[in-house]
Amino acid sequence: MGQLLAYSGTATKIRAMHSHLFTNEEYKELAHLSTVTEALTYIKQHPGYSDIFQGREEFSLHRGEIERMLTNSIYIAFQKIYRFSSVYQRSFLSMYFPRYELVVLKSCMRSIFDKRTFEPDVSIFQDFFNHHSKIDISALASCQTMDEFIRCLKDSVYYPCLLKVSDKHSSTLWDYEMALDLFYFTNFWKKKDQLLKGSALKIISESYGTKMDLLNIDWIYRSKHFYQMSASEIYAILIPVHYHLKKEDIKRLVEASDGKDFEEALSKTYYGVHYPEYNIQSMESMYNIIRHKVNRDNARRDPYSIAVMISYLFEKEHEVDRLTTALECIRYGISPTETLNYIIY
């Protein structure tokens, strides 16, 4: 009963926001459009995006701009949920928030390594961002070297982990991004135990534990298959969090000698057992399917809990991914059926 009262506002708000997400029918209609302009007009009239695209001409939008605007819609959704949340619910959201900080940090670092100038556009999110984040985006964007960049972050939580990387010579962008990611995941996993309790903790652990497991499997496969990395190198980059995966599972996956061996190891994991269609070919789409299923089930079981927030944020972020993919497919003239393969699971 307490849960019901505490979450009634947020849950109702999220349900309303849920109705503004793209449905499968809508994805199909979108995929059948033939030009980017048409697709944009379609997205523009959709209630979830009409505000953001208000007053912008479809013809004049550059692809980078479109993607930025789509991403901004995530920030706005996050902000809306935050405003509706109670103090306890906000503790989850503020734990989740560094994810968006990382996006900004990473784009800054990329432009430093590419020697580009970077203009961050979080204008729509600025107030909220400044309120919650200790990092000064404009100062970061003006940095020319990594040393400057790290100095700018002196007061933030990211400083020690970045400093450790820069102490080693010849660190690449990859090392920095990896360090930030690992820090984010470990920190998130640690914080959830401090900030949350009871069923909320259980839900979060399931949702994000699954995510980290799947990411680890993905990484192991990619680093073996595409990069031919040695076992110890793979161990070094894994997220040190295991939910359903066991130590033996990971060892078997990492030390698999070829694709067949890997497939076999995969089928013995929790995920292989529970999702028989989970294999090397379907790995990427299964990532989304499994996460979608876990989040949806949790949200259905506990409709007045943190699960609805998690589920919504997941769906919203993936919707932006799918829309981006759809637009790219349309841009390159890929047939609607193939496009739908990429965006509907």
């Binding site: 020690p160 070094a236 130590k247």
Partner: protein, 646 residues
């Protein structure tokens, strides 16, 4: 009082400046202004730039003084200049050898410390380092590995790898240790470790024994070096100590010379054409009497020319303020400084503050015993510690004693002394319209009215001095305000004493006209100054604003006057508080009281009420009185070359 100032311009041949500063300016107090910015209308002047030759020596000399940890005396007029320079230079050469030795030792110490830092994490590794070097089939690597990677290493790899990792030490970030590998296949295992971000540290192999021994040896070395350094310090101090007095005098002299030399920063130079002589120019303020003496002094001197002008001669800069008050009032200058020094043409309120502060404090804290305590204690503190506040407390204590006699109160006992005037708690007066009231309240308000009238008069005088027509005649505290307020005071007195009030027409003139003048003060002030823009631009806005301002003015007269009730209130509350103390001591029924309680209670009331009353009076001074007439925008007179008096 504010000392009258004269503006001096001193000039002479360029190379004569040092002699002038030395001979005259260190004798007379002069507040120098930057000549270049003061004479900015004069063309062809340039700054007198020359680097200070004494600065380096002075730095050295101060370093020496720090070595023997003595503070430099303020004054060393008599010490010859050349001797001072010579002394410092000779000392410098004497100690240079020891100093070099010390630097060398410090360098070694630093090195030893770095080595120690390197080897310290491995001190728990109990094995002879030299033996390790001799291993033929096993290789070893010292280093550190981050915690997260260490756990991964332990979890996934360690069991399958031909290696042994000795964990030596762990801090928050890293695990320090050494790992061993067979030299066959070492490369592969090294690669594994390096992909786990193991960072190698190279242990210098000039140690024998275990790392622990090495640490101990290093610590010993560090101790030894530190001892040697302190020996050097001792030797240095000894050399310097022999000539301590001379050194201190020389330093003081050098400091003075350096300051004198820096007079160039404030001076300007004429630009010379061909073989014309270059002249320096110095400008500044001097007290009137000093200026006269100075002029007499330089009459004989051919190389120095001085022009003395009145304060109006320099419209750019406001003259600095130098306060001059009788010694007994001097401590009260503290309160003035806290608010802001008076501008040169303002009234110096020190005497006024001194008298009113002490008087009002006395009235609020009337007690013979406690007053005497404050007077004596404050005086002793001031005498030995030179604390200004103590002197103020002492003065206040004197008045407190006087009022103690008037109220007949000593250490809270109300029945020992017969009051010369009245008892604040019991003495009542009946006045019409309000009823029965403590007499002290009425007297306090009447006193406040008088003070307000006096401050208004001050305001008018200030306005006249600064030739500000608006402030003098039409301001709330100007003549208009004074007439209005006096009229109210008069009317109230007549009413309270039962006299007939003046006729209505007189009242209208007395109240109405000043009020209208106050309302229209801005346009009127501009009109008197014959300015064209005297009519307000937005008339509607002006009327509304004026109406509310007038309302505020009336309210502030009322509240400022009532504010003085606190004088009476504290007089009453002092008696009441002491009554409580006596009650606690069991003295109210005439029985023999508990003397400890009485003493502690007296101390407590004396401290707490003293503090509160002190603050309340200061508040009255600043808020009720200063705000009526005082601006405090002056800047202080800072004599050149003298350390500022605190």
């Amino acid at each position: 009082m504010i000392v009258k100032m004269k503006f001096l311009s001193i000039t002479g041949p360029q190379d004569d400046i040092d002699r002038v500063v030395e001979q005259y300016l260190s004798k007379y107090e002069i507040h120098l202004e930057n000549a270049l910015s003061n004479l900015n209308t004069v063309e062809k002047l340039r700054p007198y730039a020359e680097s200070n030759p004494y600065r380096e020596l002075l730095v050295k000399a101060k370093e020496f003084c720090r070595q023997i940890s003595s503070s430099v005396p303020d004054f060393a007029e008599s010490f010859p200049k050349e001797q001072a320079v010579e002394l410092i230079q000779s000392l410098d050469t004497q100690i240079s050898a020891i100093r070099d030795q010390k630097t060398e030792l410090q360098h070694q110490l630093e090195e030893a410390n770095t080595s120690l830092k390197k080897i310290l994490p491995f001190s728990s590794f109990d094995f002879d380092l030299h033996t390790l070097l001799g291993f033929r089939f096993i290789k070893y690597r010292f280093g550190k590995i981050a915690h997260e990677h260490y756990t991964k290493l332990q979890k996934y790899i360690y069991d399958d790898l031909d290696t042994i990792f000795c964990n030596c030490y762990a801090d928050q970030e890293y695990v320090w240790g050494v790992y061993f590998v067979p030299s066959v296949g070492a490369e592969k295992i090294d690669a594994v470790y390096s992909s786990m971000h193991f960072e190698r540290t190279h242990i210098p192999d000039d140690y024998t024994g275990t790392p622990k021994d090495a640490c101990a040896a290093l610590n010993e070395k560090i101790q030894f070096l530190e001892n040697q350094i302190s020996d050097c310090d001792k030797k240095l101090s000894e050399i310097l100590y022999k000539q301590k007095d001379q050194l201190l005098l020389a330093t003081a002299r050098l400091e003075q010379m350096s300051v004198n030399f820096d007079v160039r920063k404030l001076a300007a130079c004429t630009t010379a054409k061909k073989d014309q002589q270059v002249f320096y120019i110095l400008c500044g303020w001097m007290a009137e009497s000093d200026a006269a003496a100075f002029q007499k002094d330089i009459e004989e001197d051919e190389k120095i020319f001085c022009i003395i002008e009145d304060e109006q001669a320099n419209p750019l800069e406001q003259p600095p303020t130098k306060l001059k008050n009788p010694r007994i009032f001097k401590p009260f200058e503290m309160f003035i400084r806290m608010y802001g020094l008076p501008a040169y043409n303002e009234i110096d309120p020190t005497v006024f503050v001194a008298l009113t502060y002490a008087f009002i404090f006395g009235a609020m804290f009337g007690d013979v015993g406690q007053g005497l305590l404050l007077a004596v204690g404050g005086f002793l503190l001031y005498r030995f510690k030179k604390i200004n506040l103590a002197a103020i407390v002492s003065c206040a204590g004197v008045f407190s004693t006087i009022f103690g006699f008037l109220f007949g109160s000593i250490f809270g006992f109300e029945d020992v002394l017969k009051p010369l005037w009245l008892r604040p708690v019991n003495h009542m007066t009946t006045i019409p319209f309000i009823g029965k009231l403590n007499t002290v309240f009425i007297v306090a308000i009447a006193f406040g009215m008088i003070l307000i009238v006096i401050t208004m008069i001050f305001h008018i005088i200030n306005g006249l001095k600064s030739k500000d027509a608006e402030a003098t005649w039409f301001d709330t505290n100007g003549l208009a305000g004074l007439i209005f307020y006096s009229a109210i005071v008069l009317t109230i007195i007549l009413f309270m004493t039962g006299h007939a009030l003046p006729a209505a027409i007189v009242l209208v003139i007395m109240f109405g006209i000043p009020l209208i003048l106050i309302a229209l003060k801005e346009p009127l002030g501009k009109l008197v100054e014959k300015r064209a823009d005297y009519m307000p631009k937005q008339k509607g806005m002006f009327v509304v604003q004026t109406f509310f301002e007038l309302f505020e003015v009336l309210l502030s007269y009322f509240s400022n006057t009532l504010s003085f009730v606190r004088i009476g209130a504290f007089a009453v509350s002092h008696a009441a508080m002491m009554e409580v103390v006596l009650m606690l001591a069991g003295a109210e029924n005439g029985g023999s009281p508990n003397w400890i309680v009485i003493i502690l209670g007296n101390l407590f009331v004396c401290g707490m009420e003293g503090l509160i009353v002190g603050i309340q009076v200061l508040r009255l001074e600043y808020y009720e009185m200063f705000s009526r007439f005082y601006h405090g925008t002056g800047h202080e007179f800072q004599p050149f070359g003298k350390k500022l008096a605190k």
